[in-house]
Assembly symmetry: C2
Homo-oligomer: 192 residues x 2
């Protein structure tokens, strides 16, 4: 099994429910690259259609992959090397298809209402374990637009901790998702 | 069971292995407050001895708890209300003791070498489940100083994902730790 993670900046919602292209957050790149490395993702796609935002992300990556940061912190270089910056999800899927020889199964994530083909983490673990190529897609802003969620092969249920509060950052939500799906520790209960 | 989380900025290591007071990262406050709310922590202590850093953290919290941010985002207000800013771990432990009537069991976290009284996540889940008051302490910079790690009641083992790479951010490490310790999903395997 080979898996990829993607961080989507368009189409996502803003606070008012409008579809926008969101800005790139520097720490998202670092945190998700380090998670990708920790959990064995093949690549981490940063998806943003705005060329100035792509340029910003490329400059950040260049600093850590081949610039001063590469000498300053080898561990960070290793993680940031996993990042690819692409304009659209279609380009991203196309690159994975070219590289793997097949279209990845697309698993979206959503903290919101019951949209798309929902799967819980127990089932999702089984799906990723028996699928050859998987792409796990995280949203920014107020979440991935519904049109895309419904097109995904699966949509992971929201992360519920102990309270009903489910307003995590994409950084911490991605961490919990990858640990639940891939960690040898996080086996689900038999009855869950 | 009542649990607290703490984010320690002193004493921690810098890259060169010296003990320093680290600077506060804005997104650490947001991400860990949202995690605290999600997993039911009683409070989130930001521990930093530098008064200018305390002032910065207080201004950030004030914005979200009672300033403009409180109206802008009620969910964020709810999370940021959990933050207390204290100068030292001793003050933090003292506040918890005053409030709970007993000293919390201190569980430190460490991505480094085998220091302190190590416990794996399976055992740590059992410990927190049967302890009345627990404080889970996360470090910044290059990790909590050894003198403090060895004084803690327990020290959680590093988070290992699928690869041996264990260089997560404190934001994502805290997310995985709380999910492994408290989530109904993250039951350990019987043989782990």
């Amino acid at each position: 099994m080979s898996f990829y993670i993607g961080l989507l900046h368009y189409p996502v919602y803003n606070k008012g429910g409008e579809i926008i292209a969101s800005a790139i957050t520097n720490l998202d790149l670092h945190d998700l690259a380090r998670l990708a490395k920790t959990y064995g993702a093949t690549r981490f796609y940063v998806i943003n259609p705005l060329t100035d935002q792509q340029d910003l992300a490329k400059r950040i990556c260049q600093h850590w992959v081949s610039g001063y940061g590469a000498h300053y912190n080898k561990d960070r270089q290793e993680a940031m090397s996993l990042i690819s910056i692409v304009p659209t999800l279609e380009v991203c899927i196309g690159e994975i298809r070219d590289s793997e020889g097949e279209t990845p199964v697309l698993m979206a994530t959503d903290a919101g209402k019951d949209r798309g083909k929902r799967v819980n983490y127990t089932l999702a673990r089984e799906i990723v374990a028996c699928t050859r190529v998987v792409m796990i897609l995280f949203g920014t802003g107020w979440g991935i637009a519904e049109g895309l969620i419904t097109k995904a092969d699966y949509c992971l249920e929201p992360i519920i901790g102990v309270s009903r509060y489910n307003h995590l950052s994409v950084r911490t939500a991605a961490a919990i998702t990858l640990d639940r799906l891939f960690s040898p520790f996080a086996r689900p209960q038999k009855d869950s």
